[in-house]
Assembly symmetry: C2
Homo-oligomer: 188 residues x 2
Amino acid sequence: MSRWQPNARERLESAALELFIEHGFAATTVPQITAHAGLTTRTFFRHFVDKREVLFAADDDFPALVSHIVSQAPPSLSPVAVFEAGIDALAAEMFEGRLEFLRARHMVVRSDEGLAERELSKRAAMADAITRAYLDRGVDQVTAALTAQFTMAVVGVSVGRWIGENGATPLPHIMRETLQLLRAIAAD
Amino acid sequence: MSRWQPNARERLESAALELFIEHGFAATTVPQITAHAGLTTRTFFRHFVDKREVLFAADDDFPALVSHIVSQAPPSLSPVAVFEAGIDALAAEMFEGRLEFLRARHMVVRSDEGLAERELSKRAAMADAITRAYLDRGVDQVTAALTAQFTMAVVGVSVGRWIGENGATPLPHIMRETLQLLRAIAAD
């Protein structure tokens, strides 16, 4: 086996998700994952701290992405308009092309209470990252926190619907529709 | 010691919070809590499953309260108007008169990662309870889920501000103000 493994990370993710779904998260070991992917445990630990992080490692890119989107938005845009302007970038960087992974992850996370708690922690960290990005833009604390909750609601509901529909409608379209619905709910 | 202990639950809560803050959550034992409260461990376990539940047991009343508020609201009210009409009842039943407990709990929960994850799980369960209450009212799934996230954002930010201000402004007033702010953010 050569030292350089193309797409090692993606192969480990796919192998892990297959085994998690087939045998359960708790019963799957790192050596089983690496054997299934045709890679070494050493390669695994170059990419992930432990088997749980296979499910969540990609979320670590979220704060930098949000900071970039929010800081690049024209100063004239309101907080929610900043989010609206960033929908295409957010969908492309975090979700599109990863439907199978996200759908499998959703199934695995639902099956294990510890993973579900971990996901809630990751979401709370995402909301904190959004809040910080708006604070850096000069928005006050309460508005920043409310905008973070508002946008997380739109993203969470939209991604859930997108996965549930198996990608039938483009995610940016669902996000814009959900944003308009939440605006209508707020105004009613 | 007589078998009947008036206010046993509240005395156990106060004793536990004092010890959690003084010695840390992990280092505090149930016998220490009961000794501090002048009660038996048997009494403790009549009220709480374990020491962690001293912090969260009151949240268990939330689903029934939300179901009551939402089902009693006039049919003509929109989802957010239902929440608005229930602000006084929600504040009175869940928060008012418990500022010291909530402030102490906030400090303890922040100090322990496991407790913080537990609180996120409780909040997710609250959002689910709100979603179910709106579904029972005949609201569609997406609107119910978005309304739940919207109202949880208002309640979470409001209670945080109320605790931070040490109750200087009445909680229902803060909730109405925060609701108006989130409506303005959504419309902007």
